[in-house]
């Protein structure tokens, strides 16, 4: 009797584990179509055209990877995704997707639908990289030529991961983008991608930033401006500052560390954003006879460079204020953090307020060393 009870008890517990184990199922890896990246375009009649890049793996001893793209349309994004089965036979597998490329057209219309589908789907991950295509369509990016990887999406993902030593495009994950869309006092940005001719072949290149207001694309800024933006957003991890027009030559500085502090100052006249950027750099390239290593030259370089950067940052912020009016730097969020009562008063009209913000940029440059050489290269005959 006792044994019977135990068996019954164990049976019910086991039954629970089968019933409540949610929607997983047994699925073999080789039955999956692994999606490495996806391009989302507008199709005909307002439909969506989805172009996943599917990794093709040939088994056997020397396995080779390649990729294949298929474009499928549907009434909604998910509809298009499921329609894929009728073409490829295998169900698409989204957990290892690295990049989502969205066409300009959809981005201008509003990205909320794309973000919602991607964030809502159980399989897709929210740490996927988000890219906006500058070209006509997003899918043509996959037609480009891959250099280091056989799968273009993986190459793109690597490009973004290594932006930290370039700082010419922001690295934006989907969750980040979604937060910016729904966040107060901050506008979203995303890296821009386009096909460029490299050595006569079409090749995808990530450079520049797409600027959004709410979920709608406003326009693009170039790589140079992106660097300025990243400096202000305190997202620079590395990169190069070229200090040009100094004694008719240039000096390249490698960035080791950059720290930005933003302090909103509110007095009677209005709000001033005090931006302090502390830069830790080293001389990595000296153009000509100008010696930036000696004390005098170093001082000159420092002053010149600080002035140049101040001017560049101020100009850039002004440009964003006047041309786009989108608070991509998160000034509003900063005010909200530092001075909630002020934010309450101005938040309703933040769009206008942002345009009228006063900016005070001060850059502090520290030149740490001159890399492996302590002198400039003397050119003599």
């Amino acid at each position: 009797m006792k044994t019977g009870k135990i068996i019954l008890f164990a049976f019910f517990i086991s039954l629970n584990s089968v019933l409540f184990s949610s929607c997983w199922n047994y699925r073999e890896i080789d039955d999956m179509a692994i999606v490495s990246g996806v391009a989302i375009d507008k199709g005909i009649n307002n439909r969506y055209a989805i172009t996943p890049e599917i990794v093709q793996i040939a088994g056997g001893r020397e396995h080779k990877q390649s990729s294949e793209t298929v474009t499928i349309e549907g009434k909604s994004i998910f509809d298009a995704v499921r329609n894929e089965i009728s073409v490829t036979g295998k169900k698409l597998y989204w957990s290892h997707t690295k990049v989502v490329i969205v066409s300009q057209e959809i981005a201008r219309e509003g990205l909320n639908k794309v973000v919602d589908w991607y964030a809502r789907d159980a399989e897709a991950r929210e740490d996927v990289h988000f890219l906006i295509s500058k070209d006509e369509s997003a899918k043509e990016i996959f037609e480009g030529y891959a250099v280091t990887d056989d799968v273009i999406s993986y190459e793109l993902s690597q490009m973004l991961d290594n932006q930290k030593s370039l700082s010419k495009a922001p690295k934006v994950d989907l969750w980040d983008f979604a937060n910016c869309i729904s966040g107060e006092g901050i506008s979203a940005v995303a890296p821009a991608i386009s096909l460029k001719k490299v050595d006569g072949k079409e090749k995808a290149q990530i450079e520049g930033t797409a600027i959004f207001k709410k979920d709608k694309l406003l326009g693009f800024i170039d790589g140079e401006d992106t660097q300025a933006m990243l400096f202000i957003k305190n997202e620079v991890k590395g990169g190069v500052i070229v200090c040009d027009e100094i004694e008719k030559t240039f000096v390249s500085l490698e960035i080791f560390k950059s720290k930005t502090k933003i302090k909103p100052i509110c007095n009677g006249k209005g709000i001033t954003m005090g931006i302090t950027i502390e830069l830790d750099t080293a001389i990595d390239e000296v153009g000509d006879t100008f010696d930036p290593i000696e004390e005098e030259g170093r001082k000159k370089l420092k002053e010149h460079c600080e002035g140049m950067l101040n001017e560049r940052f101020t100009k850039f912020i002004k440009k964003i204020q006047s041309e786009y009016g989108a608070d991509i730097f998160g000034f509003g969020a900063k005010i909200r953090e530092d001075n909630p009562s002020l934010w309450k008063a101005i938040s309703k009209n933040w769009g206008e307020e942002f345009k009228n913000l006063k900016i005070n940029v001060s850059t502090k440059l520290r030149i740490r060393n001159s890399a492996q050489m302590s002198k400039i290269l003397e050119v003599e005959d």
Binding site: W24, I29, D30, H63, S95
Partner: protein, 522 residues
Amino acid sequence: MGDIMFRKKKKNSSENGSLCKENNSVVKIKELGKSLEDNVNQLKAIFSNDEALIIRYFQNKYLKTAKCCVIYFEGMVDEGLINEDIIHPILKDDLSADISGSNLLEEIQHKVLVSSCVSVEKNIDDIVNSVISGNTIFLLDGYDRVLLVRTKGWQARTISEPESERTVRGPKEGFTESIMVNISLIRRRIKTPELKMKFRQIGERSHTRVCLCYIDDIVSKDILAELERRLDEIKIDAVLDSGYIQELIRDAPFSPFDTVGHTERPDVIASKLLEGRIAIVVDGSPFVLTVPFVLAETAQSAEDYYNNYLLGSFNRFIRSAATIAAISVPAIYLAVVTYHQEMLPTPVLLSLSAALQDVPFPTAVSFFIMLLIFDILREAGARMPLAVGQAVNIVGALVLGEAAVEANLVSAPVVVVTALSGILTLMNIKLLGPMIFLRFFLLFDAAILGIYGFIFGFFLLILHLSSIRSFGVPYMLGITTAKNHNGQDVWIRAPWWSMTLRPKIIAARNLVRQTARRNRRW
């Protein structure tokens, strides 16, 4: 459940027992008479048709009344001893000069026979048992008693290195099949009068000698009493190896885990006795049993204690970890590959995907097949004569592993994981049995429920282990703690200077192993 099974067994054995006794009573005549001839004939009748029985009459040439006879079994005795110690003194010496008293048998026992162990016996059953086990019966005309002379002697295997528990460092002696040799190996290591040996015979036909061995002032009296009670319950016809007794006295009869330990090493037995355990030496078996037995003991090796404690601890730890890994690795691999692909890093997923291309069987099925094949190879290799064993290895490794992958019948990762799991199993050979079952059990769980099923199965395993006791001692003793003296010899082997106490529950009566020195610097 246990009770029911136990009762059934008892019933069967008691039936057998009563049958035996009926047979005996038909043949045997209980009493010996005074006539030498009659007595010999009686014994002859008992051993009728047994041609190994030797009967030798002889008589002292000076004392005519000394008509004697020796009866013994060929092959069970040292015939030199019989010649030198019994027959020679009686035939050659002038007994009439030596013997003065009226009781001739007693005189011969005390003054003539040159043997260390001679006893007088009247009961015919005991006489029969004695001669069967290699003693010689000395009969004298005119007496209804006989002398039993210890003349046991037969060929036995010499002490050799224990095959099942080799060590690089440490004693190389192993137990043999002879109970007396085994006992001497134990007593040589613990020379104290507190070391007690209690003999008994088990097996209604085999009359196997079994010796309980313990240290009187450390052992728990309760465990000893319980062990003796369980041994008394055994009513089996024969005990051919200690394995019989191991299974007959164990707790948790349906569990795959052993609740009675066994070892081939006398040094291990000595250390277990010193921790308050009881050893059961069974004649005819080189494996000596120990109770109580806990799970932690399966991962202990004699060498851990002889090497530097750091090395000992490291070896102990990887052995313990390997035990867990051996049962988990195939299940976790299966769960991740077939349910939780998102857990894999992308490059791993891609290379697994490449390996799985064109493999016809589902991963779960190929796992069951490969693990089964591994166990087939292991078993085949273990039973094979050495020379053929090589062939098994080659067939196993090359044909089944390499060729199966080559032919795309199984994927390479499955072979790798199976081989890894197989090697890990061999790290802790004492748990081989449970590990084989658990590996399949967890694999099955993982196949139907993914990692969730694996965790579910693992919980069941821990629940089961927590429910077992060996002679009242929790089976998981020490495993969940690293703090006190129960835990310092489980996952690691603590340095000898810190192991001042014996395991708490087993040696509760006498805990102190060594008095600790405060300052360990010399």
